[in-house]
Amino acid sequence: MEINLLVFGIAKDILGYTQHDLVISESSTIKDLKLLLSKNYPAFEKLAKFDIAVNQEYRKDSYILNPRDEVAIIPPVSGG
């Protein structure tokens, strides 16, 4: 299935895009997505952490992704 991936901050520098239709296996969890990203782009493992938001809400690793979800990579935030 395809998910619409939104990318911010340092994750944008790592991946080289801000938005991308990414193909992942059906019923992938957030954990699966994180593993896939870290495997293909080891720079993710060097980050203090990174979270995934789905439909503009932080979600746990066990969350099962859906093709209609808006999925965002949230590297360590630094507002304020």
Binding site: I10, D13, L47, V77, S78, G79, G80
Partner: protein, 138 residues
Amino acid sequence: MVDIRLTDQLLSSKVCEQFIQDDKAGGHVIFIGTVRNHTSNRNVLHLEFEAYAPMAKKEMEKIATSALSKYDVLHVAIHHRTGKLEIGEIPVIIGVSSAHRKAAFEACEYCIDTLKERVPIWKKEYFENGEVWVAAHP
């Protein structure tokens, strides 16, 4: 009541204070974040703030609403700026009014601390010889 703003325009403490004004209030606490000219020993030239705007606004709203329920306060305003900011400019203003000052001080600190932990906004520091995404690496 809560007032949330995320904008690339200049922030104003006056606007923030007008929103939290209330005849029932005994005080206003306003936190104004400003752009510092250094990090550790390096001179900062300017900053750039990027936001995941729709989610950032939702998270700011949650923080303000939760401050209203946790503390005995009247109004909470959270304003954040995006884009390029020069030294001394204002990226964030938090305003809280309450009948008694302690609650406003505590709620204001809660808001800025939680904003820094949760709101999807990212700051890049520009130096003379490079640039860095703040907090990205341990």
